[in-house]
């Protein structure tokens, strides 16, 4: 149970930069997801913290120890790999006790700790099995038990659930959170699955082309995305561009859109982000709640999915916006119908780029 600190870490392969000036603090006992598309550098960052990759610059510390130049095997980490990486020639118990043996813990004491770890991942009684006799989900649990049994300073997870099917993945997500809470290990989790990142972690770091573009609590990152990339990569988002006029933003047809948060100077061009589920779709003559933004639009496409509807509407400037609606009254607006969009200024986010 330790803080992990990454300061000004950079890495490039040849002339290709993979990570540029990454600094981040991972608090003791926290669960942080590194979220990004492939090539964003999230795995490289994890491997730098693990010690498999030596950064070109910057420092990594685990607890109060600067481990930048410490090899993997002396860092006291626990790691779960995408492919599980269980040792096929060893039994479950031998796999789990491998790390204990490296630390000189053997015999009855090791057996006791292995048993406890297997109980924690809910696989008691599997000690004598071989990895290939287990299902994917069970192998994943063994890999987790092997990583936590040594009480590592930090638990690193490299897309551990991506090889599992959907149902099993959801089950393991719940387990993972439970085990993390019970063990209290500082955990860093790499994923490209935004839903996984939001549901599992205390904090989400969004990476794009070797930089952390935003880091914060899931709700904070989702509700207040700072950049277009963050808004788009985490969930769906609509974008409106306009220019600042009288502490509001004038969009294409001159409609003034009220926003929350700070705006740049008068006449500056800005992009606003609005989540599709925050927008209410109204009949053209209906009025929305007091103080909400209102924008005329025309329904272009309706996607009916039972409990929910997705409308694609055309804004006055010709751009297409997405609106998610609950199917509360069973009414489906036809294509071509003029409508009014209504949303709160609180949900109108001014982007930095």
């Amino acid at each position: 149970m330790t803080n992990v600190n990454v300061v000004a870490v950079a890495k490039s392969y040849g002339t290709v930069p993979v990570l540029t000036d990454i600094s981040s603090h991972f608090e003791e006992g926290s669960f942080t997801s590194l979220l990004g598309p492939s090539g964003s550098g999230k795995t490289t960052l994890l491997r730098i913290i693990a010690g498999f990759v030596v950064p070109d610059g910057g420092t990594v510390s685990i607890g109060d120890r600067n481990v930048t130049n410490t090899p993997v095997w002396a860092r006291n980490i626990g790691m779960v790999f995408q492919s599980y990486a269980l040792f096929p020639h060893m039994s479950v118990a031998e796999n789990v006790s491998f790390g204990l043996a490296q630390r000189g813990i053997k015999g009855a004491e090791a057996a006791r700790q292995v048993e406890r770890a297997l109980e924690m991942v809910r696989l008691p009684g599997y000690a004598k099995r071989r990895p290939k006799e287990l299902s994917g989900g069970q192998q994943q649990r063994v890999a987790l038990a092997r990583a936590i049994v040594t009480r590592p300073s930090v638990l690193l997870l490299d897309e551990p659930l991506s090889a599992l099917d959907r149902r099993l993945r959801q089950e393991m997500q719940v387990e993972l959170v439970r085990i993390q809470r019970e063990s209290g290990l500082t955990t860093i989790f790499v994923t490209h699955d935004q839903e996984e990142a939001l549901t599992l972690s205390d904090r989400v770091a969004i990476l794009d082309r070797g930089r952390i573009v935003q880091i914060g609590a899931p709700q904070e990152v989702y509700e207040r995305p700072r950049t277009r990339f963050a808004a788009e990569f985490l969930g769906d988002s609509n974008f409106l561009s306009g220019s600042v006029r009288d502490r509001a933003v004038a969009v294409a047809d001159g409609t003034l859109v009220q926003v929350s948060g700070n705006l740049p100077a008068q006449a500056a061009t800005v992009t606003l982000a609005v989540r599709p589920e925050k927008i209410a779709i109204l009949a053209a003559d209906q009025t929305g709640p007091q103080g909400w933004n209102r924008l005329g639009a025309i329904v272009k496409t309706v996607i009916y999915a039972g409990p929910a509807l997705t409308y694609v509407v055309e804004a006055p400037d010709g751009s297409l916006l997405k609106v998610f609606a609950q199917n509360k009254d069973g009414v489906v607006l036809p294509e071509g119908r003029p409508v009014a969009l209504s949303w709160s200024p609180d949900h109108t986010v001014v982007l930095e780029d």
Partner: protein, 259 residues
């Protein structure tokens, strides 16, 4: 299986084993001129024990093959691990350079070795034969062990290191046990390459120190006697026994994990 397929299989087995069977049988035939009818006799085997030249050559062959198998497997495995797990300058060049010796005719390799050994003063004899055989067997070992290494995932070693193992210990605790079938296979290969070797042995052997194939060749030139059948049979059964025992215990390819 259709009758045609059975016949085809039978034919293949016949072409493989009938000549060997005839050779073994003739070792037990009384006639020194391979005449029929067959009269069972162990006379060639008792004569053989008196034929010091052939017996010595046989022992030399087995000894060289065993030493070659051990040395080539050790060196070849180390080379293979370096080529697949480490990065260093000239690695891809080295990888390419290891393969042509398999394709170069032994006659050319043998001539080259003879010239080189003469020129450097290494000369001929046991030590020269060992150097030659080991050098010849290494590419086969690198090839066989290299293929095996590809099936041992790198992340297994990484997992071991994340658990506190140094790279050397990770290799011995994880990679080596998984590589064991490949290494045994490679050793058998090296053993066979050495035991079979005629051309290079012919160049590097001295009148005082020869291997069995070379001795058989010079014996045949003077006239064929069933003693040759006898020693060939002994060698044949000995090497078959080794292969069967090893195959039984190492289960090549059987214990490898598919994941």
């Amino acid at each position: 299986m259709t009758i045609a397929a059975r016949l085809y299989l039978l034919l293949i087995l016949a072409f493989l084993y009938v000549p060997i069977g005839v050779m073994v049988a003739m070792g037990f035939n009384e006639s020194s001129l391979y005449e029929l009818p067959f009269h069972f006799s162990t006379r060639w085997y008792s004569d053989l024990s008196g034929n010091a030249k052939l017996m010595d050559a046989g022992w030399n062959s087995v000894m060289i093959a065993i030493i070659t198998a051990v040395l080539a497997t050790l060196l070849g495995t180390m080379a293979s691990v370096a080529l697949s797990r480490r990065t260093f300058r000239g690695k891809s060049l080295l990888k390419i350079l290891l393969l042509p010796p398999i394709a170069i005719p032994w006659l050319i390799t043998g001539t080259a070795m003879l010239v080189f050994f003469f020129w450097t003063g290494i000369g001929r004899g046991l030590h020269a034969l060992l150097i030659g055989h080991v050098a010849l067997a290494i590419p086969y070992v690198v090839l066989v062990v290299g293929t095996g290494l590809q099936s041992v995932r790198v992340d297994l070693e990484e997992a071991a290191m994340s658990l506190g193992s140094t790279p050397v210990r990770a290799f011995f605790q994880v990679t080596l046990p998984l590589l064991y079938p490949s290494i045994v296979g490679a050793a058998l290969f090296a053993f066979a390459v050495s035991l079979d070797q005629f051309v290079i042995s012919y160049f590097l052997a001295t009148p005082g120190f020869t291997t069995l194939p070379v001795q058989i060749y010079s014996a045949i030139r003077k006239g064929f006697t069933p003693e040759i059948n006898a020693i060939s049979s002994i060698l044949l059964f000995a090497s078959m026994a080794v292969i069967i025992i090893v195959a039984r215990f190492a289960k090549p390819g059987g214990v490898r994990d598919k994941r």
